[in-house]
Symmetry: C2
Subunit: 367 residues, 2 copies
Amino acid sequence: MFDQLATPCLVLDEARMMRNINRLRTRSEALGVDLRPHLKTCKSVEVARRVLHEGGAATVSTLKEVEEFAAAGVDDVVYAVGIAPDKLEAVAELRRSGCDVKVLLDSLEQAEAVVAAGVPALIEIDSDRHRGGVRADDPMLIDIGQTLDKNGLLRGVLTHAGESYSVSGREQHAAFAEMERSEAVAAANALRAAGLSCEVVSVGSTPTAHAATDLTGVTELRAGVYVFFDLVMAGIGVCSVDDIALSVLTTVIGHQKERGWILCDAGWMAMSRDRGTANQTVDQGYGIVCDASGNPFNDLIVAAANQEHGTIAVRAGSGASLPDLPVGTKIRILPNHACATAAQHESYNVISEGEDKVQNWPRFRGW
Amino acid sequence: MFDQLATPCLVLDEARMMRNINRLRTRSEALGVDLRPHLKTCKSVEVARRVLHEGGAATVSTLKEVEEFAAAGVDDVVYAVGIAPDKLEAVAELRRSGCDVKVLLDSLEQAEAVVAAGVPALIEIDSDRHRGGVRADDPMLIDIGQTLDKNGLLRGVLTHAGESYSVSGREQHAAFAEMERSEAVAAANALRAAGLSCEVVSVGSTPTAHAATDLTGVTELRAGVYVFFDLVMAGIGVCSVDDIALSVLTTVIGHQKERGWILCDAGWMAMSRDRGTANQTVDQGYGIVCDASGNPFNDLIVAAANQEHGTIAVRAGSGASLPDLPVGTKIRILPNHACATAAQHESYNVISEGEDKVQNWPRFRGW
């Protein structure tokens, strides 16, 4: 099936991806909120078509993503990284061309720039002390809200509990989901109490989206990496290894038998330098090694990586034995972090159930 | 100067780059060996034109690099990653088009594939137990050599002491340089003693190339990252921070004053996930923060990174104060690892002494 592919390259299992997509779609419907998928993971129009509900609402992380997805017909986008004032001219131009882009901000300086450009915005709320955002009880929230609202540009509030990635299990993720919900709803209520409009209350991350039990007051849910999943998400219990839809196809290029090493042509250039499982209960190195059909070998990981070399070894202490994989054997590696690994490649080689032919879906990059 | 650039993006200081290029060129001349620069760092025809001596000898890490540089007129290339047999057809085709590509191998299986394809090869020698290669006293060396030589395809031996990156200071790097030299020369002598030809004895890494004092028996020296240098190389004493020619231009997008954070739009997508300084004496986070002219602020680093966010903070324990950098300020970040950071971008924005205009040099990627 993979004979025509030059390694290393991405393989995307469409059936697994659709299962992941449907899982969160069903959840968000049951929770009674809209889903606004984050397209920073896939950066692919073909994937976006399968993720988005009726062509609609998307989240992105770069101006390039706004441009590419707008050109593909996506007309409702939240650009969810604090806006740099000198990007507003480009955003306003994209709005004039018909895409309803909203930006994100957490300062008065940004609010004034946004007003000057006439671009609607969401206020970033800090629910977990992770990164940007204002707290619901910060008087600055109202100042920013007033500046936007008097110009008709206040769309709502948005929060993301990035810290939820650092804890494991449904109970802890549900606690972060409630932290997102309560802080975002409190901020929305504070704005409304000040006489301002706050239509959108947007929350989410892949762990919290899959654990939330009550989203009262929330209008929309965001998540990104769930479309592919990865070893970091499996390591904190959000998915199983069998849910991971993305892998890197690689070729065995050598052996160091004394040291128990198999060398392959997927180094960090193909896998990314992401070592997100390094501090988890099980360190997966640079990824879990599978056969060409995607079945993991016992305790076999990419233990080390150079630019174009992966060093495969049995997990230390596991007692597993090294499989016999001659030079030229094709294998697949499940990545730590799908967003980072996918970003190293120019396209997805898509395998689908009951289909022998591998499709190629381009992805884009840059800013 | 940078007003027209959308952030994040790469900035390349041409004067620093030329100083780095000339430094190793002078060294290799004094050592009496040819220099075969590794182009995996730059992946740029414009940079290659400045690095290569009279258009000549280059080292690369992917077939894509062979193709791109051959198309630009580079006609003597060592593809220095253990060859996957199914890539030999493409290599043979590139040879027929006029580029003298040599491949690398360390097994009989590969030697037989190489003979079938009629492609000349170097045998990889393991001088530091770091990755691939055979030892000089391994009987396999002669078996491989005979297979290649009887078909006129044995060009020589090649070694790379990747472990030299893990030690600091000229004395230790010189010890690794001698390890490279002695093992490679021993392998060449073992082949010659068996009646086989061994014209090329190729050694090198950036740390060893800058520390070697005697390369008797060696014919060529390889190095790659020295063209740009980076914080990992500065951390082990191969260069100073002022030698680093590559940086990422970024814009301040927010503040968390209570926590002492400045947020910028260079996250790990712009810097790469490389944390090569994490285990060095001074951990530089995701990079050292400089003003737009390239002057480092005191003890200011990118302490954490998300996909499109960098979190800038004062180095813990330094007592330095956070500079006042309003939203919209342009700053530059020196990277941990130039190969990894450059790979995240599509072009270099090149600044040159006495020149107000920023040039744009494309880079390529993929395999």
